[in-house]
Symmetry: C2
Amino acid sequence: MSSGDVTRGPIEGSTKHYLHDAHLRIPQRRVHLTNGDHLDLYDTSGPYTDDDAEIDLHRGLAPTRASWRRPEPVDTEAGHPAATQLAWARAGLVTDEMRFIAAREGCDPELVRSEVAAGRAVIPANHRHPESEPMIIGKAFAVKVNANIGNSAVTSSIAEEVEKMVWATRWGADTIMDLSTGKDIHLTREWIMRNSPVPVGTVPMYQALEKVKGDPAALTWEIYRDTVLEQAEQGVDYMTVHAGVLLRYVPLTAKRVTGIVSRGGSIMAAWCLAHHTESFLYTHFDELCEIFARYDITFSLGDGLRPGSIADANDDAQFAELRTLGELTKIAKSHGVQVMIEGPGHVPMHKIAENVRLEEELCEEAPFYTLGPLATDIAPAYDHITSAIGAAMIAQAGTAMLCYVTPKEHLGLPNRDDVKVGVITYKIAAHSADLAKGHPRAQERDDALSKARFEFRWTDQFNLALDPDTAREYHDETLPAEPAKTAHFCSMCGPKFCSMRISADVRAYAEENGLVTQDDIDAKLRADMEAKSVEFRRSGGEVYLPLEAVDRTAP
Amino acid sequence: MSSGDVTRGPIEGSTKHYLHDAHLRIPQRRVHLTNGDHLDLYDTSGPYTDDDAEIDLHRGLAPTRASWRRPEPVDTEAGHPAATQLAWARAGLVTDEMRFIAAREGCDPELVRSEVAAGRAVIPANHRHPESEPMIIGKAFAVKVNANIGNSAVTSSIAEEVEKMVWATRWGADTIMDLSTGKDIHLTREWIMRNSPVPVGTVPMYQALEKVKGDPAALTWEIYRDTVLEQAEQGVDYMTVHAGVLLRYVPLTAKRVTGIVSRGGSIMAAWCLAHHTESFLYTHFDELCEIFARYDITFSLGDGLRPGSIADANDDAQFAELRTLGELTKIAKSHGVQVMIEGPGHVPMHKIAENVRLEEELCEEAPFYTLGPLATDIAPAYDHITSAIGAAMIAQAGTAMLCYVTPKEHLGLPNRDDVKVGVITYKIAAHSADLAKGHPRAQERDDALSKARFEFRWTDQFNLALDPDTAREYHDETLPAEPAKTAHFCSMCGPKFCSMRISADVRAYAEENGLVTQDDIDAKLRADMEAKSVEFRRSGGEVYLPLEAVDRTAP
């Protein structure tokens, strides 16, 4: 595998830019505008978009965090020391990771520390993943997006999985989950870990199940624990653990329309039924916490009983498990271990807010990490959209990270295009929520793009977009020539007529006449309407030449 | 133009089915399931999806409504008679149109009459469009979707526009707006009217502007009125009229990021400034009402000052105009004329509900008809998605009809694929809102599809989807063979492992053991856990054969 296997170079119209804070170098994506301005954006893409960076997939990314200051472990309530961001935050320490994050988010490092200390935010950063650029998941910060990748012997190679990781982070994935199964699972993960600039999550159960040849009944705590240790050593930053699927909850799913749809959840349900014993993930949870505390692995407590259909949303099985996740959250935190909580799934819009309310109540406001939810079941092939509706709403209500859904959900495996569409769609949901929550600086990008649109700076409009390439391609389908990029019109209303031009005339009229406040405007209008009428007709009137045959997508 | 120019035949897996109510024949789409069941769906596609229907585009569709009973005109407050659904509803009459609609919606005809009488719903049905299948727009009914089409001398012919109409209604468009400009505008509309099974809306101003060679200052009331009469005679069912753009509101837009983005709004703003006179649409509004009352044309009072960016949402200009639309609503209703109100546009999520609240307060709950709104400005090329988020939310809050947005919004003209993606995306938003509002029967389709999914009835899952063709295509990319359509697995988890199978085992276990209520379950679990453990391991255990190399899109 050579570095030629992955996508390199900046996104169109941008260059890599670094903020410096002592020994920290914080990456940003700088979008260069044709009017001489620029806009700096949060950048998840790592060195791959830096033309000056050397990339060697065999060597992996530079282990930058290895040289950062790491505080001593801190004693915890549970009685053993924890070397975690949570333990340090509680001890009042601002780590380099927190400082790096504060610069990325444009906030005070103390906000980062206090949110982590409160358990309202997590920084997934295994000590053994020094290649990662720290990021934070918490409702006080920008909403984050996770993209799932994972190999399959049939459909992809290790090189393809590494490229999928690079590709997903290029378009804005804040974390990735490696859901690989099958052969080469360890090696695939090693390649991903060493080359990933973002935190990596896994579901250790998948590999544990491989070790027992896919028979859930043959699983044991020891096999699972050793798998966790193996992945911990590789540097996995957060792990999904379905420890809330208890034996007594399984029958609650019997009358559901879609039963248990989580793979991890169904494995544990099968194990519990086969042994009629409580889940070993639950009974050995303290031991798991001790491992996680050593590496600073973050729990992503899985919702194994999440609803798989509108009919099953917010039912007894789902909320019984959530209550147990709340208990486990307290235990993990007593060990100094960071925790986030996974959420559904399929939920109609009117039942979305209740999920956040209950999660916050039961789980001490631990960051919520939801899959969609899909707001309806009736659109397979468009579930990135059905779920973006739910995702935007649940993020507005307080969800901190959104797990993307691709157009192939329920139907097949996502290809490269699906991964991009999934990530872009989820960046839309996350950003819409940031706007709705009044996140500082979120609206800067909307304003810059809309201003470019109004001023007919087409190139700037493309380059400020989440996907400059597709925006440009769609524009060029009807007006391909380069001069059209600076034209004061578009194919929708044609060259001789455009509402934006009239607006510009209105603005010019207001400014020429000193109409700044509403009082100015009213006074002026009353004072010299007729005189201005003549003037306007003479000057602005020329704008309205004969209307050619044109079209427009809205009245 | 021959009938070979348009798409014919039912959607995959369905046939046309008719409900009969006296002389009325109400179309439905019947989806046939492989388990012998069927599901009947609301059908907007007209005779084109009926294999038994004769289609001759030159003759047009059968003028079915011409033979229906039309009550006598009714006197109105304004002093002249109105032959409108509103006037008849107020007089206590249930028209054939209302009865037809009640059968389509699955509700009582009296609900239709009373909602129309209250002005909370409209039935756009010009007497001169007898080919249409009546439908209703109101928040007590299923949320509706409008698709815009419109010719352009450069890019499309009349035949293409008719096909776009057929294509849009095939996928679920409840109304279409013909936004044609340029030459052949009258003829294009004539073809569309005579062949459209759904109500057709227009913006008469576009044609009026053609008549004055694109110079807004040259417009007059007389030219506009004659254009309205011309289109009324052709059978246009509803017309967008930007009568709320008053002279004194224009300067309110001067400090906006994106000024005036509505084409109709900008034309009137230019006219008002050029003449320093109040808008002729406003000053002649009563005369317009008299025309509309004769044909039963529904007002779609345009939001000429809608925000074109997140920055401009809910500003003084927008809400000043809305207040004026409220005044005009009262005037129209006093003439017995039906009214709906157009809404934005670009609105961040936290400002969406306020739009509905204010519209209902100011406009006596007249049906709201919104364009999206887009929840962020930063994703040109994905604005069907940015706007589906806003559309679903505003529909949940009470919007009765959603105007679709295609992926080409802001960039170019939608092609056939864009029209389909736009309609499907908006059906998702509308249906999600129906679920959230608890609309009777909405969840039937979700449940049927999810049940099919759980039971591995792949073909049924496809056929119940909004877009069976694309769902099937995506599935077949990884598992193309016909036997895979009945396989108890999919490419996501592979043939030997599947959470759905475990669920089926859990269910079987519960049913075999008479576990119906939670009490049964608890008692049984306590009673004979150990015995069942052995049994389950022996029977269900066989399900879990070695896990092949597989992948999955979520943990």
